[in-house]
Amino acid sequence: MKSAVVLLPGLNRDRDMIAALTKISGQAPATVWQTDTEIPDVDLIAIPGGFSFGDYLRCGAIAARMPVMRAVAEKAAKGVTVIGVCNGFQILVEAGLLPGALMRNASLKFVCRQVKLRIANANTMFTRGYQPGQIIRSPVAHHDGNYFADAETLARLEGEGQVVFCYADGTNPNGSINDIAGIVNDRGNVLGLMPHPENLIEAAHGGNDGRALFESALGIAA
């Protein structure tokens, strides 16, 4: 399975994402720069975490308007799998590829810790390697992960199984509505999540709870 990683100035988890995809898929992902208008023929596009454009205006707002994001939107419309982690999630929301918004953490503090996630829907292309309701661990590191959507959008997301990951066991680190940590679009091929599964994929990380997400998305889940 071929993958590509989107690079933007200010991202800082790009190397982690590249390392995770290389280890799990067995080949290094292509990289695409913010001004690129075309993305190579790949099965999976990942937008890593960080602080693109210094979080100016709103997190992900400037990045979402760069040429490469038009190319990502075109690929997503064709059914290519897209994962946005942390700032990548914020960018996907700002680009209109996912509904809702990510606001300042309710505590106003940057949170950097490990949380627990419940697999709210194991019947997606990103979670088929997990059991329904399974609790996994994942690191988080963000200042603006407080997911918000209006009541109508929220009802639709929950009704259609588009809420994929929820903070579990009282570990919601940001005040996110209904403990939402990750959602997919209505077609099910675009995932955004605040936690960093790419930082928990092997024993050296202290666990591999995040690995099945990439194995699922890359079509190599057990």
Partner: protein, 79 residues
């Protein structure tokens, strides 16, 4: 031509920063401060002179970039 765009959070959207400012104001001894909501102001210089076009353009700027209309409202003032 000069324009000022004001972006504010929609009603019902939690504003933890506004809340923190509210507490800080009461901590400074300002009594009678009710709810505080934080927003943004953009002062924009425009080279054109057509006010109608400017207003259309400024609204498009808000919809496309300056405001996140999922959570924010905006208002445009010219002159």
């Amino acid at each position: 031509m000069k324009a000022r765009i004001t972006v504010t959070l929609k009603n019902g959207v939690l504003d933890p920063q506004g809340k923190a400012i509210e507490h800080a104001l009461s901590g400074l001894g300002f009594d009678g401060v009710g709810q505080v909501r934080q927003g943004k102001v953009f002062d924009i210089e425009l080279t054109g002179t057509d006010k109608t076009k400017a207003e259309t353009d400024l609204k498009a700027m808000c919809d496309k970039l300056l405001a996140n209309t999922v959570i924010e409202n905006y208002s445009v003032a010219i002159g």
